[in-house]
Symmetry: C2
Subunit: 232 residues, 2 copies
DNA sequence: CGATTGCTTGAATACTGTCAACTAGTGTGG
DNA sequence: CCACACTAGTTGACAGTATTCAAGCAATCG
């Protein structure tokens, strides 16, 4: 369970295809896996694009996948960073409402929508799992809307980093120097800031002793104190 | 179908209790209605509070209900304005993640969670409806995240007003002088702005001839042209 | 009728964005 | 192998937008 490297394969159930369905039996899981395939992606590869017909469901197995919405003029809002165990577009009908791209190397389990629908139709409990997963996704979205609308840059970054740390820790990763595989631009597009503001704010936090910036990682030193007024 | 006043009762199916489930038969609908009750609220009444145990599901029948998330220090983010036909907390387990309050007089259909779960357990198609509704909610949330993170005040307001108009129009309401029942503070807390910025930006749009501000209403005159760069 | 609340506007401030420059690291091609 | 180009990250200077603080007005309510 203790995977030290960031993109390392993980014995965690969540990291297996179909691992997002916690109530599936072993037989179900085996069958589910035969219905889909594991697809490797390299950094920046696009899994699917906003507006394209949604033919498949996805589940991240390894790595990080950025989910984002764009407008014609290069503006981009990354709505979430998907980690192993997270599912994408499970209930999308018709066309994709968002795009997805690999943040670094990633492995994704993909299953045609009809096959999954057929699989689920025999198993009522699967639908319940999906509803629960979507409820979590909605709750997360509410959190993010609050952050985007009501937090200043510094608070956005601290909350982002601590949440990211907590998610990785839940996957059993080593988070002491917290791995931050996404670029500054990705962070900016996620928090509704510019690259420059992200850099500057991180630098400010480092000068204050709250964090330590390392290549590809950030050590969280005193975020509780700094975040206290924000999270109380 | 032509309801002229804003909070007027509406013959639209969506405005009936259970009307959000479009594939329910008449018999199902009748039974569903007996399981819940219609509860009237007056302006500013709280339906449920973030952190409280989630014992019921809600569906707006009449009026507008604001869904919001707060932090201890008075900061508030209104994540959505629910209209007749919209459902609330249908899949929430445990505790409410958000609060809800009536924006003006409202009628809400409320059903205990267990009763609805029991009702749904005999009817597999209900779960599919719920999944579809939640998928729509997630897509909406993505839109709002983009607006909060990547649009300036003026664009936020124009997009908000046009979306609001489109939603009311879909309910068969008269939207020529667009009814705006929520306060400036509500709008500000929805768009991630301050009351003052909302006022000033609306005034600017009015001076420019894009809108006309009336008491409780706003007439949209030239939003297409103004919004064109934003929505293209 | 006074008081409260919501809305509006003004002035000053602060934060974030824009533009620009510089560094370091990476990869490419000669 | 090295020169070159390109990208990501960082920092500075400046501009612009949104916030804060403040005050005035109108409408509502007790």
């Amino acid at each position: 369970m203790a995977a030290s490297s960031f993109a390392a394969p993980c014995a965690n159930a969540a990291a297996q295809p179909g691992g997002f369905l916690s109530h599936l039996g072993a037989a179900d899981l085996r069958q589910l896996m035969t219905l889909g395939e594991r697809v490797p992606y390299t950094s920046q590869d696009v899994l699917f694009t906003q507006g394209a017909p949604a033919g498949k469901c996805f589940s991240v197995v390894e790595g990080v996948v950025g989910i984002y919405r764009t407008e014609c003029d290069n503006r981009r809002q990354i709505t979430s960073f998907a980690l192993p165990g997270d599912i994408l577009e499970i209930a999308t009908q018709g066309h994709h409402e968002v795009s997805a791209a690999a943040i670094g190397p990633a492995v994704v389990w993909e299953i045609p929508r009809e096959k999954f629908a057929q699989f689920a139709s025999h198993r009522p409990y699967v639908l319940n799992e999906i509803v629960a997963l979507m409820a979590t996704e909605i709750a997360d979205a509410h959190d993010k809307m609050f952050s985007l609308g009501r937090r200043a840059a510094e608070e956005k970054l601290i909350v982002f980093l601590t949440h990211w740390r907590d998610r990785l820790a839940r996957l059993g990763r080593d988070v002491d120097p917290l791995p931050v595989p996404m670029s500054r631009r990705d962070i900016a597009d996620h928090l509704g800031l510019t690259v420059e503001t992200v850099c500057r704010t991180l630098a400010k936090l480092e000068r204050r002793g709250a964090i330590e910036i390392l290549p590809g990682r950030i050590r969280l030193l005193d975020t509780e104190a700094v975040a206290a007024p924000a999270l109380a």
